[in-house]
C-alpha cells in the first residue's frame, strides 16, 4: 500500500515538472506585447493604429508596429525630398500622400473635405493630432518597423521618412517573429 502511494507521488512530481516546463515556455511565448501589421494608409486607420498603440503603451504593454504598403505614406516627411529616384518612383512619390497630414479617409473623403472636417473636430474635442500622437509614441518607446520590400516596391528612400527614435527597417520575418511572441496581434 505504502509503495504504491510513493510511486503516485513520484509520478505526480514528474507531471508537475513537465507542466512547469510547459508553463515557462508559454510565458516566454506570450509576452505583454502588441504587434500590429499596418497596411492601410487611410487617415482613420492610422489614427486607430496610433490610439490603440498609445493606450497599450500607457498600460505598460510593449508595442511593435510593422508598416507596409500604403501605410508608408504616413511615415513620409514632407520636408524631405530625396534625390536619385527613377521615373516610376518619382511618379509614385507624387501620387501618394506626402506624410500623415495628407492622408485620405476611407469613407467620406469628399476630395479632402472629410479629413479637413475630422481634423477640425479632433481639435475641438481635444483629441491629439497625428503629429502629437507620433511624438508621444516615440517618447513611450513604441517601435516602428518599415517593410523594406514595400519601400523598394513603391520607390521610397530611407531618407524621406520621418525622424523617429525607434525606426528600423526589416522584412516580413521580423513581423512574424515579433507577432509570435506577442499576446496581442492585429492587422490593419
Amino acid at each position: 500500500m505504502e509503495a504504491t502511494q510513493e510511486i503516485t507521488i513520484q509520478e505526480l512530481q514528474v507531471q508537475i515538472d513537465a507542466l512547469k516546463k510547459k508553463v515557462g515556455k508559454l510565458e516566454k511565448n506570450r509576452k505583454d506585447q502588441l504587434s500590429m501589421a499596418v497596411v492601410s494608409g487611410d487617415m482613420d486607420k492610422i489614427l486607430a493604429t496610433m490610439i490603440i498603440s498609445l493606450a497599450a503603451a500607457a498600460m505598460d504593454t510593449q508595442v511593435k508596429l510593422f508598416f507596409s504598403f500604403w501605410s508608408l505614406s504616413a511615415l513620409r516627411d514632407p520636408k524631405k525630398t530625396p534625390k536619385g529616384k527613377d521615373f516610376i518612383s518619382k511618379m509614385f512619390g507624387m501620387m501618394l500622400p506626402r506624410g500623415k497630414n495628407k492622408l485620405a479617409l476611407s469613407n467620406m473623403n469628399m476630395a479632402g473635405m472629410g479629413p479637413m472636417m475630422i481634423k477640425m473636430l479632433m481639435k475641438k474635442k481635444n483629441v491629439m493630432s497625428l503629429d502629437e500622437m507620433f511624438k508621444q509614441a516615440g517618447e513611450l518607446g513604441i517601435e516602428i518597423t518599415i517593410c523594406e520590400m514595400s519601400m523598394d516596391l513603391m520607390g521610397f528612400k530611407k531618407e524621406e521618412f520621418i525622424d523617429y527614435p525607434n525606426l528600423r527597417f526589416a522584412g516580413a520575418g521580423t513581423f512574424v517573429a515579433d507577432a509570435s511572441e506577442s499576446s496581442i496581434q492585429m492587422f490593419i
Binding site: I51, L54, A55, A57, A58, M59, D60, K125, N126, V127, M128, Q136, L140
Partner: protein, 82 residues
C-alpha cells in the same frame, strides 16, 4: 464611498481635462512615477471613457483603484500607487 473620496487628500493631482482618449491614461502613466508607493493620485478627466480605462489600467499594473466622483463638467478619479 463618494463622501469618503471627497474628503480624501491626494498626494498628486493630474489635470487631464484638456485631452480626450487616450490622453488621460497617458497623463496618468507619466505622472505615476512622481509619487511613492502607497501615495494617492487624483486624475481630473473630462473624457467619459477614462472612467472605464483607469480602473482597467490599475487592475493590469497593480495600483489600487479607489473610485471616482463627478463634478460639473469632469470627473475626479482616485487611486493608490502599488
Amino acid at each position: 464611498m463618494a463622501t469618503d473620496l471627497k474628503s480624501l487628500k491626494s498626494n498628486l493631482v493630474v489635470d487631464a481635462r484638456g485631452t480626450a482618449c487616450p490622453g488621460p491614461l497617458l497623463a496618468a502613466k507619466k505622472a505615476i512615477g512622481e509619487i511613492e508607493s502607497g501615495e494617492i493620485m487624483e486624475i481630473l478627466s473630462a473624457d467619459e471613457g477614462t472612467k472605464n480605462d483607469i480602473p482597467r489600467w490599475c487592475e493590469k499594473v497593480g495600483h489600487e483603484y479607489l473610485g471616482f466622483f463627478d463634478e460639473d463638467s469632469f470627473s475626479r478619479l482616485f487611486l493608490i500607487k502599488e
